[in-house]
């Protein structure tokens, strides 16, 4: 339907890869944080809640700036990672994935937390009297209850990652084939004389992806509501 140039296909595939890696790597942490927030009672719960949700409120440019300060090759953490593990984030697609992961993290946590809050806490007591230990209870109760939320969270976080612009361009710049994701490619096309058609094509592609994501997440959320009311 749309004839994409090789560079545009690159941008699309890069976007999908960055979003996939970002969501996949963040998921285990999202499950742990969501479980702690939904079921845990510990001091500092509000602070953890605030930190997790910060990327939703902060301007993306500020996120990118903070990442640059934290993970740049001359920043202490970034330097240590580079020297010890040869992991470099700046100007690299892995950096784009890190930015996307942090920015989309709250979406995952919120969705998982929502479905965990449908658990009757008394079920944990029942499981414990029946001989289930802590890890056992996590796998036999927490995870099955979290599943619809995990699915919904992964889809929305994936869609949010696809659209991330500010944090990525600030942190890892706009390198063709390395960090130029769909939004960055659209931005570049708009900046280029005669690139209006390319921009329109890429924008249409983005709209299509966003729609697909919303649709999938709506189906998953419906499933959650059905379980919550049963």
């Amino acid at each position: 339907m749309i004839n994409l140039t090789p560079a545009e296909i690159d941008a699309l595939l890069l976007s999908l890869r960055i979003s996939g890696v970002a969501v996949g790597c963040a998921l285990p942490f999202a499950i742990i944080v969501a479980t702690a927030l939904a079921l845990g009672r510990f001091p500092g719960r509000f602070i953890l809640d605030a930190i997790v949700h910060l990327p939703l409120i902060l301007p993306p440019v500020v996120m990118g700036y903070l990442l640059l300060i934290g993970f740049g090759t001359r920043a202490p953490l970034g330097a240590w990672l580079y020297e010890t593990f040869d992991i470099r984030f700046v100007f690299s697609w892995t950096g784009a994935a890190l930015a996307a992961a942090i920015v989309s993290f709250p979406f995952q946590v919120r969705a998982i937390r929502l479905s965990l809050e449908t658990i009757n806490p008394g079920l944990y007591q029942a499981a414990e009297t029946l001989g289930a230990g802590r890890i056992d209870r996590f796998f036999s109760l927490t995870l099955p209850f979290a599943l619809p939320g995990i699915i919904a969270g992964v889809i929305t976080a994936f869609a949010a990652s696809l659209g991330e612009f500010g944090a990525i361009i600030t942190f890892v710049s706009n390198v063709p084939g390395e960090t130029r994701t769909l939004p960055l490619a659209i931005y570049t096309a708009i900046q280029t004389p005669g690139g209006e058609l390319a921009a329109a094509r890429l924008a249409a592609l983005s709209i299509g992806l966003a729609f697909a994501g919303l649709l999938l997440s709506e189906i998953a959320m419906r499933h959650i509501r059905k379980r919550a009311t049963s």
């Binding site: 007591q125 001989g131 056992d136 036999s140 379980r227």
Partner: protein, 376 residues
């Protein structure tokens, strides 16, 4: 020792002091009004709450002893807990719910015993369903089966019938009777229903305002009118042990023996020598000075008045022991002899000139028979 509890627990303004010791297996009713600490007490036994001090013993195992710093984790206590709200796992089928505990327990019940429990509770047709497709009674049956299949040392039942209507209660009660009579399992049964106590309990622990006031057999305890939670329930009447002797040739009635006295009840369909329990409500007992003739009541029992107390409003509560042969010395301690309670109006009492040690006749309008089911 079946159950031994002696604990002190303080949460905010509520203090719980519980002490009771039950030697034999069977159903022990934790009886008392709402807020008397019954559920807190079984939560402590299950390990869901930790008492401030004291000790708890189930069978031969000490599961909590403050002084020796013994506090077994919940899952090692081997308690089968049936919660008031069933607490079935909604994402699992009935089958997976049932075997949840059994799969995690090294000390499994033999396969045929598992099958017997499932059959007895009638769970086979429900196996593939999810809890949201079960009725309230079915949920409680699954919860009971799940607890039993885990092969517990003790069964804790927290008002398992309170969320059910009358018909559902009647559906579940026989299973508890079966448990009491066929499995040597100590059962703690939390309830505030005197009917359930009269029908099921072997022992009663009476609780009020966070304290255990008294404990004893159901026969002793229901005769006591000095305990606040029971006193208001005097109307509950008497629970008596009886044995089936024979039936009439047409099979219309069964003849029972209760402390040497013959009792006639509608035919029970059970063979002779079966033990049953009789529940006779105080309002179903009339008192006559002379043996009445031409009366529809089947049971007219010679009794001797042992105690008359003022009841609620214009009523008198009359205690009577079986037989006319009791002398004054015997009446001082009527232990061992079946006792009946009647609630009559003060007017009747004055009219009949009732007095202590008077020999009268108790006319029993109706008897509820419960207890052991027919032995297979």
């Amino acid at each position: 020792m079946s159950i031994g509890v002696n604990i002190h627990h303080k949460i905010k303004k509520f203090t719980l002091d519980a002490e009771f010791h039950i030697q034999e297996p069977g159903i022990t009713a934790l009886f008392g009004p709402s807020g008397s600490g019954k559920t807190t007490l079984i939560n402590i036994i299950a390990g869901l709450e930790n008492p401030t001090r004291g000790h708890i013993q189930i069978r031969d195992h000490v599961i909590f002893e403050h002084n020796r710093q013994i506090n077994l984790p919940i899952r090692q206590r081997r308690v089968g807990y049936v919660f008031q709200d069933a607490r079935l796992f909604p994402h699992k089928t009935v089958r997976d719910n049932l075997y949840f505990g059994a799969r995690r327990n090294a000390n499994k019940l033999p396969h045929d015993e598992q099958e017997a429990i499932i059959e007895m509770l009638g769970l086979a047709p429900l196996m593939a369903r999810r809890p949201n497709k079960l009725s309230g009674g079915e949920k409680q049956r699954v919860a009971l089966g799940r607890a039993l299949l885990a092969n517990p040392d003790i069964l804790l039942l927290d008002e398992p019938l309170s969320a059910l209507d009358y018909a559902r209660k009647e559906e579940i009660l026989p299973y508890f009777e079966w448990l009491r009579d066929h499995r040597k399992l100590p059962i703690l049964y939390v309830t505030h229903s005197i009917d359930e106590v009269a029908r099921l309990a072997d022992h009663i622990v009476v609780m009020d305002k966070g304290k255990t006031l008294a404990s004893g057999t159901v026969f002793e305890m229901l005769s006591r009118s000095d305990l606040p939670p029971l006193a208001g329930q005097f109307d509950a009447g008497t629970v008596l042990a009886a044995r089936i002797v024979s039936r009439d040739p047409k099979g219309e009635v069964s003849f029972l023996d209760c402390g040497g006295q013959r009792i006639v009840v509608p035919y029970l369909g059970r063979p002779a020598n079966n033990d049953v329990r009789l529940h006779i409500r105080a309002r179903d007992v009339m008192i006559a000075r002379t043996p009445p003739n031409g009366i529809s009541a089947n049971n007219i029992i010679p009794v001797t008045i042992t105690k008359i107390t003022d009841g609620k409003g214009d009523t008198l509560d009359v205690d009577m022991c079986f037989g006319h042969d009791a002398d004054a010395a015997f009446l001082a301690k009527t232990n061992g002899r079946p006792t009946l309670h009647a609630r009559i109006t003060r007017w009747s009492g004055t009219r009949l000139k009732l007095g202590l040690q008077q020999k009268v006749y108790a006319v029993i309008k109706s008897v509820t028979v419960s207890g052991p089911l027919a032995k297979k």
